[in-house]
């Protein structure tokens, strides 16, 4: 290799390495200059928020919406340790309240969606689950999210609720919890363990059964009176570098269009419940 190509190669490598570290441009205004919005969203919002982001980006040239997905508890832990974001969307009120108590949130959170839990089993149904009662049968490999994860907390509540429903044994929750083989760190990890056929059953949100997932799993509805309605609040973050765009994002999520998109992704819009 001659000196020129070495230099050119080095320059190229430097450029490639430097690109991701270049600070996002925050200069300019809504008139088309580059802006970046950082959204921290609960893992269960993945598809819905990606579509919301694309729509908003299409409406506002120059805007790039970056969505960071994880269990709500993990997002809060990151924010506490100094992660910078503009918007936080939690899968339960517990972690939003915690974020507020830590002084991370600016203004009042708004509830923007609700969700219900379902039980999914692999299409192959290796444990021959035919009804929810089967979850407490010995040897069933049940996967839940950890209790700190919103869906994990909801799942345990549902199991306790089911134990009080007619047709379920009173020790249903205890026995089902004994079948837990793994406590995952977010709902999508539960989905994938079932989707791959490694788990016999798992508790997830109804919105997690996306078309891609539906090909691999079968869902069991949870009786209405035992189910939990998950409540999703979102809020602006105090140290967010782009509060104006953040406000626009929140407004869009709460708008009729935004709510329709959430509904298309299996979430329950709040308008239907509150108005």
């Amino acid at each position: 290799m001659n000196r020129f190509s070495t230099c050119a190669g080095a320059a190229l490598v430097t450029a490639l390495l430097a690109t991701p570290f270049a600070p996002p441009s925050t200069a300019g205004d809504a008139s088309g200059a580059k802006r970046t919005l950082q959204v921290f969203a609960a893992a269960s919002l993945a598809d819905a928020f990606h579509e919301l982001a694309h729509r908003l980006e299409a409406e506002r040239p120059g805007l790039a919406v970056r969505i960071s997905l994880a269990g709500s508890q993990q997002l809060v832990a990151q924010l506490e340790q100094g992660a910078v974001a503009d918007v936080f969307a939690s899968a339960d009120e517990r972690w939003m309240s915690y974020a507020q108590a830590q002084g991370l949130v600016s203004g009042e959170p708004a509830t923007f969606a609700r969700n219900r839990l379902v039980v999914i089993v692999p299409k192959s149904n290796p444990a021959r689950i035919g009804k929810l009662q089967d979850l407490s049968r010995g040897g069933v490999k049940l996967v839940l999210a950890a209790d700190a994860v919103p869906v994990g907390h909801y799942s345990r509540t549902v199991l306790r609720n089911l134990a009080r429903v007619e047709g379920f044994p009173p020790d249903f929750a205890t026995r089902a919890l004994r079948n837990v083989v793994s406590e995952e760190d977010n709902v999508k990890s539960v989905v994938s363990k079932v989707q791959l056929g490694e788990a016999d059953a798992g508790f997830v949100y109804r919105s997690d059964i996306t078309p891609a997932v539906a090909r691999y799993v079968r869902a069991f509805e949870i009786p209405e009176r035992a189910n939990v309605i998950a409540t999703y609040p979102l809020a602006l973050l105090k140290d967010g570098p782009a509060p104006d765009v953040a406000k626009a994002f929140v407004d869009f999520v709460l708008s009729a269009d935004g709510q329709r998109i959430l509904e298309q992704h299996g979430l329950m819009p709040v308008a239907a419940n509150t108005r």
């Binding site: 508890q73 993990q74 832990a77 192959s124 995952e184 791959l196």
Partner: protein, 279 residues
Amino acid sequence: MRSPAPRRARLSLTRVALLGASALLIAFLVLPFVALLLRVTPGDLAARLASPMVLEALRLSLATSVAATAVVFVLGVPVAWLLATREFPGKRVVEVLVDLPMVLPPTVAGFALLMAFGRAGLAGRALAALGLSLPFTTLGVVVAQVFMAVPFMVGPARASFSGLDPKLLDAAATLGARETFTFFRVALPLALPGILAGVAMSASRALGEFGATITFAGNLPGSTQTMPLAVYEALQSDLDAAVALSVLLLVMAFGLLLGLRAAPVGSFWGHARARAAAR
């Protein structure tokens, strides 16, 4: 030494660069550890470490990493010997395969393990027929650790075998020793320092394994939640417990590597053993 003045100037420049780079790198490595240690008082740490959650994770981590290291040792040393002493078609491929887990993202390794040994996996179905299931079991944790630790055993052991004086091995052969004898009585004792380095490094790697474990074996206290997984979970719910666990892991890894350096396995000892064996 005709022009000592400029030479000294050059030397001191080198020395400044050396010291500067070393100080910077050492500070960079030390600072996170110090920050971790400053987060917790010794009394607090002791109380935390006595909690059942920590003890359970510690017990599981020790048991699985010892088992994984044993497996890696038994299977890795012969492969290292093979690579050091033989030429064969496809050797390059084997070398790359052995090194692969070192560069592969652990999550990818865990996923690949699921595809292979999961219930619906390629080999998993055969295992299931034998009544053996790896995901969500302690055995699965060991499998993930073995997979990730292989390069750390084979690498140093192979380098150690390759560095042996071929004359010694030839001498054993001309004296009529079979390869098994040469391997166990000459090569193995002589290569012991490198092999022990491999043992310490693969044990450290197994102890620290996270990504492949959580992907392949899941996360359940008492059966698959090793210390790194417990740290990860505690980071999201109980920061003080996370600090305590991290400090413990840090001390263990540090002790393991330091112990290796202090251990009486210098080349002198290895040579003495080999000489005794050759007699």
